[in-house]
């Protein structure tokens, strides 16, 4: 795995005003439902050497794409620039950037030595004539140049919004091809923006609903490799898989890691009845969490690992319930009309995303963990399976179109319901699971 070293760019640290990130007018409050996009300029990064030139332009393009992709920023095109940035260390001509209303300016320098790529960058609050935070530099391999761009963009995003970033992350999903009645599915992984797709399984068996481990190094998923649905754990780096030793003669699915990565909560169907179980990965011992004649599935841990939200039809229709990991009576949290499924606890702990089926339509929605303040973010023929960005501000999900030519695609939407957009994948795609921010 590529290693990225982060170091404070000392020369710049002296110039930085420590409090500027808190008091600057250069600030987006995401929760307010932003209408005005924040204009920024990201001129081509400056190559220190000719070998760095090809990366310099690409890096600034990926940074700009990350920022505009949030639906919070608007890039000012290069043909509007008055001054050009030809040296990373040259003073910024604030007046020239003010004149074109670039409220934020991202400048960068790139050097290449062998396979090592170093990116330095600074973020400027143009209308305050100051740098926003301190300059940083990232060092990695030339192959990993996109990751460094995402790390730069994460810095810009989080300094301006006050939220954690999410661009340096990956998505594991199910790549789909073939007609609807002969769909071929294989596990795939990609950068959050659809770049660098890599396949993790072949399409010989149906695979479903992958989930990352908290460290992002393993993936749980369900496969029909043995003829019936069973749970597998895949090492992402080595692309090696092992079956989770659930009880013989049963079907198991819907696996998710606990936040400490040591346990897996999953559904097990036996005698037609599906309940939730918790397995300790080291000891391979399972404990039954629910014992009801109803369907209990689609579990998700709270970030502190103390509770599990899940889907159950014990009331007659699928609804959302929360129970303590230690056991105890589940309490119902969904209260609206319709069928609720696939609850996923936000990494921030504040919200639960879900799928809702109501009056022939499907929605992705969010509610507080007590079930209040339900908001539907999307509506279509079939939306399902939300997954949270590492910062808990964006949700990715599957949207399937209807009819004989129906096709599944990934979409993302922010938690205000704005900025709905498709995520580009080579083929059809479903069941996305967002990784934590990479280290």
């Amino acid at each position: 795995m590529m290693k990225i070293l982060t170091s404070i760019f000392l020369g710049v640290a002296l110039m930085a005003a420590p409090a500027v990130a808190q008091n600057t007018p250069l600030r987006i409050e995401i929760t307010e439902g932003v209408i005005e996009l924040l204009p920024f300029a990201a001129p081509d990064f400056v190559p220190d050497t000719p070998a760095a030139a090809q990366y310099a332009t690409q890096l600034s393009r990926v940074v700009a794409a990350d920022l505009t992709g949030t639906g919070l920023f608007r890039e000012i095109p290069a043909n509007a620039y008055i001054s050009q940035v030809s040296s990373f260390d040259a003073p910024v001509q604030f007046a020239d950037w003010k004149a074109i209303n670039a409220q934020a300016l991202v400048t960068g320098g790139v050097s290449v030595s062998g396979n090592t790529l170093t990116v330095r960058f600074r973020i400027w609050d143009v209308f305050s004539d100051t740098e926003l935070g301190t300059g940083l530099q990232f060092t990695g391999t030339t192959d990993g140049w996109r990751r460094m761009a995402h790390k730069v963009a994460d810095q810009v995003y989080s300094r301006i919004t006050g939220e954690g970033g999410y661009f340096d992350s990956r998505v594991v999903f199910v790549s789909e091809s073939g007609p609807k009645d002969e769909r071929r599915k294989r596990l795939a992984i990609m950068d959050y923006d659809g770049a660098n797709v890599q396949y993790l399984t072949d399409s010989a068996s149906i695979v479903l609903a992958p989930r990352f481990s908290p460290a992002g190094d393993r993936v749980l998923y369900t496969s029909y490799e043995s003829g019936v649905p069973r749970i597998y754990v895949l090492d992402v780096g080595a692309v090696q898989r092992n079956v989770l030793p659930t009880q013989e003669g049963t079907m198991s699915f819907a696996p998710r890691f606990s936040p400490d990565g040591r346990s897996v909560v999953y559904s097990l169907a036996r005698g037609g009845n599906t309940d939730l179980y918790l397995m300790d990965i080291n000891s391979e011992q399972s404990r039954q969490l629910t014992n009801a004649p109803s369907i209990e599935t689609a579990p998700s841990f709270s970030p502190d690992g103390s509770q599990i939200v899940f889907e159950s039809d014990r009331s007659g229709t699928p609804q959302l319930y929360i129970m303590p990991v230690t056991g105890g009576e589940p309490r119902k949290i969904s209260s609206g009309k319709g069928r609720y499924g696939t609850p996923v606890w936000s990494p921030r702990g504040d919200l639960i995303a879900f799928t809702k089926q109501s009056q022939g339509r499907f929605h992705i929605g969010v509610m507080r963990t007590d079930g209040s303040a339900e908001r539907l973010l999307t509506a279509s023929f079939l939306d399902e399976g939300p997954t949270w960005a590492p910062n808990g501000r964006v949700i990715m999900f599957t949207r399937e179109t209807q009819g004989a030519q129906g096709r599944a695609t990934l979409y993302s939407v922010d938690i205000s319901g704005r900025n709905l957009r498709p995520v580009r994948t080579p083929d059809g795609a479903s069941d996305p699971a967002w990784s934590p921010l990479q280290k």
């Binding site: 009645d181 169907a269 037609g272 369907i295 039809d313 069928r339 799928t355 399902e384 209807q402 004989a404």
Partner: protein, 171 residues
């Protein structure tokens, strides 16, 4: 259920019977066959009452369910009674019951629903005397529709439990 006289003596083999994309009456395709004309029984053909093709087409290899339900309708029970009778007479075969759901539901819930449906069919067969160790179940949820339109006409056929014959290894 009746066997169409148009059904060809294609000698449908187990592998074909196991293909869930193959609708029960599609295989004949009007190709014409000798059995209907001269009354002889071609072993392995749908006219051979001991053949998987007969089981699939004459007995009926599948039962259908109403939306979100796994209870057996009267029609389903009648079909399963025929399956039980056949299985009791043809002990060379075991059964794998595949439970399916339509596309109107989330993926994992539909897996659980398909498991329920397959089990409902299995329990019925057991109640009619078929040994439990001859019947396994698997759920496909909404992963293997046989009809691909997004209307009730298709959904009704996709909400199914299909009994697939396999070699009986339990003896």
């Amino acid at each position: 259920m009746k066997v169409s006289s148009k059904l060809a003596a294609l000698g449908l083999v187990l592998a074909v019977a196991a293909c869930t994309n193959n609708s029960p009456f599609a295989a004949g395709g009007g190709a014409g066959g000798a059995d209907g004309a001269n009354g002889s029984v071609v072993p392995g053909s749908p006219s051979d009452p001991r053949s998987p093709a007969y089981f699939q087409q004459a007995v009926g290899d599948r039962v259908l369910f109403t939306v979100n339900e796994s209870t057996l309708t009267d029609a389903a029970k009648a079909t399963l009674q025929g399956q039980a009778d056949w299985l009791l007479q043809n002990t060379d075969y075991a059964a794998r019951i595949e439970g399916h759901a339509d596309e109107q539901g989330t993926r994992e819930y539909n897996l659980a629903l398909g498991a329920r449906r397959a089990n409902a069919a299995r329990e019925f067969l057991i109640s009619r005397g078929v040994a439990g160790n001859r019947i396994t179940t698997v759920t496909y949820g909404k992963e293997r529709p046989i009809e691909i339109c997004s209307q009730e006409a298709c959904y009704a056929k996709n909400r199914r439990a299909v009994t697939v014959l396999v070699a009986n290894v339990t003896g």
